[in-house]
Amino acid sequence: MPDGPEADRRGGFDDFVVAQSRPLLGFAHALTADPHDAWDLTQETLARIGERWGRMRFEEPAAYARTVMVRLNIDRIRRLKRELPLLAGPDVPEDRATVEVVGELDGWLVEALRTLSPRQRTALALRYVEDLDVRTIAQRMSCSEGTVKSQLSRGTERLREHAREHPPLHTRYGEE
């Protein structure tokens, strides 16, 4: 790590990354329903904040990170997936295999989420992971409360359908 102001700036940011990367990765997992997309989204979110770290005053950097992540997921995930390998360059190791599955998850939920639109997944993630109300979700998604209610209603019904068809059974990625 370098010395001087850069080190101070990096140091604070590194602490933030270490503390927040896993919860952000979890939130990203709920947004994308894909571990690799979740990692891409998490990296890009943290990189964008890191670009400003020490120059901008973040009152609540963890909340701000989630706002950045939501916007990225809604609008730019396709572009992001295309650009990240190019941005990283040949000297940066391939990151696809670096996300480790450490806990059980419900295959039916992953499958159900993959059938939803990014906006529906976002509304549901903010509801179920962040435990936000409709008004706050609308603010985070920069849309009306009516739109959020619609996204939540359709998304929740789809999840209920999948839940009814699948008894609680936890699997890991790659397992039948």
Partner: protein
Amino acid sequence: MDTTETPEDRQIEDAYGRLGTALAPPADVAVRVGRLVTARRRRRRAALAGVAGLVVVGSVGGAVLLRSGEDGEGEDAVATDTSSTSPHGSFVLSRADGSTYEFDDLTLSCAGTGPGGEKIAPGHIVLFSPFQPDPSGKVLTEPFLYFDGVVDQIDGRSFRLPFESDDGSSDDRAFVLFAAEGETPGTKHPNEVSSAEAGAAGTVRVRHASCGPTPVLDLEADTTLGSEVQQGTLDLKGSFVTP
């Protein structure tokens, strides 16, 4: 939204709880993110240099350029308006020690290619001074000025600095006003300043901006630009007008 609880809702909540904790980042996550931050900064600076490089290499592949300052036709100009209503304007960079530098050779473009051959993004208008590195290509021999704006977002608007995109990303700003200079007697280190940095202040006023057959820009800056590299702020004042 139907708020009636169903038997499946608890199952959904529990499943979300497991989904959110099922993944772990790599142990060296801070190092990996740090590399990306560095790459983003490097790419942005390369893009800035590449756009200005058009002036140096004189090849713009169909771009329409308008230059201010010199009356003669520049060798690098694809189309130069030499009428009495040609674009005019300049910006003065002022340092803390009182020394100044005037940018009076400015090029305006809505098209062209940057480093690696990428095009100036559609809908963007850019104004820049000649990019003049030393033979190594790494050290500026003259200060460099660069303005990049999204036409639809800046036309007819004024901005108070610092001005930043909603998500803090350099990719999504309506505009950026950027200046750089190499090591000078008044500064121990090279400096790079922009309208988005902490410490920036003042106003950027875009009375008109459009991209058609001929790019049009009426820009006025009365600003202090914040340093991106932990150096002091620099004042930048001036205007640029196309007919």
